[in-house]
Structure formats: structure tokens, C-alpha cells
């Protein structure tokens, strides 16, 4: 999990703030490399540590860094992969929320190596959901908040997404047809 998050953090900081900022983060974190490989393994805890350094360098809270990174993962126009994979989750945003529980299983099916943390969705009432997520990486819930925010936008759904601790996210869907959803073709644009 650390490898995927570190790679995403690297992409987010480089795309948004430029290579010199990322290099500064690497130096301050005492890293021997400047490139993280998503398919390699890194010492557990590295992702949280590097994210904290990035937050210090950028002068923001680490929670904000993780959240923005989650949004960047979905909205970054350079690679559509994450957004596309998530859009396979359903026709609408609530449909998508309901398939979140299946996401770790789907991912494991595709790549056994990738062990996403278990996600649990509870419907608290009409259009009110609670998502619980247990992960070793403390920033993961914030990443998920960023991803959910971007996906709600992608589906054209107006909702309030809140989190109060490191395991729980509350989603209130206010308007499922607030905006036109972004177009999604099942067929991959790459052919």
C-alpha cells in the first residue's frame, strides 16, 4: 500500500508544484531516491512520513495534502486509469458507493499483490452513508475523502463528505442530478 501511495504523492506534488518542490521533499525526508516505483515494496510507515514532510514543505496540513492527492488521482488528465476503473463501479454515485465494498476484491482479482484495505459501507438512512476503512496508513481515509469528492463531481452529484477521525467517512447525497455526469465509455480509449 505504501508504494502506491508514495507513487501517487510523487505524481501529485510534481504535477501540481513542480519537480524542484518534490526534490526538496525528498531531500528533507532524507530519501536516497526521488522516484517511487508502484510495484516495489517500501518500509511500512514511509508514506505517512513522506506525506508529513510534503505538508511541512508546502505549509499545509497533512490531511489536506492527502485529500488533494486523492482528488488529483481521479482528475489528473494525464492518466485516466483510476477514474475509469472507479467508474466501472456503477451507473450513479450511490450505485458507485455500494460497490466500494467490492473494490478491494476486484483489485485483488486483477493484481494479487495489491492489498487495498477493507471498506465497509453502511446505509444510515436515505441518501446517508457511512464508510469505514481500516488501514495501517493513517492518511488513507483522507485519500478516500479526496477520491470520493472527485467521483461525486464526476457523476454530477452534489453531496457533503465529512470525516471526524481516522476510520470513518460520512456521505450525505443532496442531489444526484446536480450536474451532468462526465461521459464514460466502457470501451477503453486506448483500444
Amino acid at each position: 500500500m505504501d508504494a502506491l501511495l508514495l507513487r501517487s504523492l510523487q505524481g501529485y506534488v510534481r504535477d501540481t508544484f513542480g519537480l524542484p518542490v518534490w526534490q526538496a521533499v525528498c531531500r528533507r525526508a532524507g530519501l536516497t531516491v526521488e522516484t517511487f516505483e508502484p510495484m516495489l515494496r517500501y518500509e511500512p510507515g514511509t508514506a505517512d512520513r513522506v506525506a508529513q514532510v510534503a505538508a511541512d514543505v508546502l505549509g499545509r496540513s497533512v490531511e489536506a495534502v492527502w485529500e488533494d492527492m486523492g482528488t488529483h488521482l481521479v482528475t489528473n488528465p494525464r492518466h485516466q486509469g483510476v477514474r475509469r476503473l472507479l467508474r466501472f463501479g456503477g451507473i450513479g454515485f450511490t450505485d458507485f458507493l455500494h460497490t466500494l465494498e467490492e473494490l478491494p476484491g476486484r483489485t485483488r482479482l486483477a493484481v494479487t499483490e495489491i492489498d487495498l484495505p477493507d471498506l465497509q459501507l453502511d446505509e444510515l438512512g436515505p441518501d446517508r452513508f457511512e464508510i469505514r476503512c481500516q488501514s495501517r496508513v493513517s492518511g488513507l481515509v483522507r485519500v478516500l475523502v479526496g477520491i470520493l469528492t472527485a467521483m461525486a463531481d464526476d457523476y454530477g452529484t452534489l453531496c457533503v463528505i465529512e470525516t471526524d477521525d481516522q476510520t470513518r467517512i460520512l456521505v450525505r447525497v443532496l442531489d444526484s442530478f446536480h450536474n451532468t455526469a462526465r461521459r464514460f465509455d466502457l470501451a477503453s480509449p486506448g483500444g
Binding site: 466501472f88 476486484r106 483489485t107 464514460f184 465509455d185 470501451a187
Partner: protein, 333 residues
Amino acid sequence: MSAGCISVNISIGGETLARFMPMHLLLDGEGRIVAAGPTLQRVLGGKSALGARFEDVFEVRSPGGATTVAEVLDRAAHRFRLTLRNRARVGLRGVGQRLSESGLILLNLSFGIDLIAAVGEFGLTDADFAATDLAMELLFMAEANASVTRELRGLNLRLEGARVAAEEEALTDPLTGLRNRRAADLWLERLCATETPFGLLNLDLDYFKQVNDSLGHPAGDFVLETVGRVLREQSRAEDCAARIGGDEFVVILPGRTDPDVLASIAARIIARLREPIPFEGQACLISASVGIVRSVDFPHPDAAEMLAAADRALYAAKHAGRGQARLLGADGV
């Protein structure tokens, strides 16, 4: 029917049928299309397919020999495979049943493994598949797989780049930028193994110790750097110029075995190295002795033998007076 199935006759409305089986097909006793599920209708090009004969729309791939829907039902033990006559790329598979009451034939079709092609070809969306269909999972898998493969390809390229750089570093003498001893050995081994004829110059600096002793190591290092530049300038891209010891160098020249050519290259290098090398207001004066050997003088040249012979040639050159070059054959002459 297998055990466990309770025999209950139910009637099912067209809308429910469309939702449960969006790719079903109903045919009359003659094999004419009466109705099609919404997704299949899209695949068949709309309502125009209604009334068409089964065999005009589909080509039967299995069971072999069947053409009409009646033949398909009679011969197919478990399932049948079809292709569309107008879109040969997309295959379909299905099951069928005669409905006793109405006399209609019900087929339920699916894309099977051609799903990915079909989605692109017909612009299907997740609403086109039954809620129980694993189509989304299959598409998810295919894309996730493609992403991972792309990522791995990137990783391989990055690792390969790092490997080439590390290799380059391992074969280079950092002071002069020439190849090092290990690189020279590898070159000689490769040329010997492939029986490529080559010439070999073994070069030793004269008076280098004096420069080091009188002007200091920085002057010595500067002289070595200058030698590196001279050797690079005097050799071709396909040659290998290497520093193999403190003030000892070799130049390996593939394809060059003419004694006169080799001697003139050696003479040119010596002449260049005799030019005074200015260093911080002082002139460093050195020269070089060169031993020359040719692979063609040895019946079965190998790297160690060639280097030893070049060393003997160098010794002979030093003996003959400094600033000289000597060619040595296998017989030691």
C-alpha cells in the same frame, strides 16, 4: 432437468424478460425473429431485424453442420456459438429452449470473451447488461491489467536505464574518462572469442614519476587527464582506449593489423605526448613507450596472452630508448 429444480410454470412479462435477459431472442416456429432484448436489438441494428430469419442474421459456428435455429436446438447438447453475419468480429454464445405453450423459441445470448470488442463496437454501457452479469468485472480486470502492464513496462525501462548507467560507470576510469582495466579485458575477450583481428597498443608514460615527484600529484593527475584526451582524439569510435594501471594504458583497435598503420598511430600518440603540458605556469614534460602486438600473429589469441605479449613489446621499446614503439610477434622477435 437436474435435481433440485422445482417444476413451477411461471409466465414472465416482456419487460421483466428484457431486464433479466437483455440479450434474449424470441423466434417463431419458422425461425423468424419475433422479439429481441434491448441490448441484442442494439447489436442487431434496431427493429429492422424483426421478422428476419435466424440464418440470415447469424452464422452458426457450433454445433457443426447446423444452419437453422431448429437444427441448432436439435444438435446443441449444452450451448451453441454464433457470429453475426454483418459483424464477423463479435462472437456470441447462448442457450435455447422451445416454449411448449406458445410454440416460440427462446434464446439467451452473451458475448463471452468477445465482450471487450463488443463494448467498443456497439458503444455499450453498464445499463446494457443484466445486474447479475459479470461484464463490468471483466472490463475492470482488462483495464486494471493493462494499467499494471504499462506500469511494469515503465519500471523495466527505468531499471534498464539505471543498469546501463551503472555498467557504464563500472567500466570507466573516473580520472581520464577512458575505459578501465575490466573494460579492456572484456573487449579483448570478446574480440578473441569472435576471432576478430585487431591491433593492441600497450602504452607506458616516461618521466611520469618525475612530474609527480617534482610538481606534485595535482600535476600528475592533470597529465593523466591530458593523456586521456590525447588517446581519445587519436582513436576511432570503434576503438577502446583504456587506463589499466597508474600510468599504463592500452588502445585496442579492431580490424587494424597492418604493421605500418599501427606503427604510425603509435608514433602520432608519442609525438603528441612529447609536447609540453602546461600546468600552473610550469611545463610538464613526459613521453611514452609503446609495445604493439597483432592478433593475427597468434594462432589462437587469448586476452591474457595478448596482454603479456604487449607487455614484452613495451619492455623492448623501453630498452631501445624512451619515446619508442616496438612491434612484437608471437615468436618474441
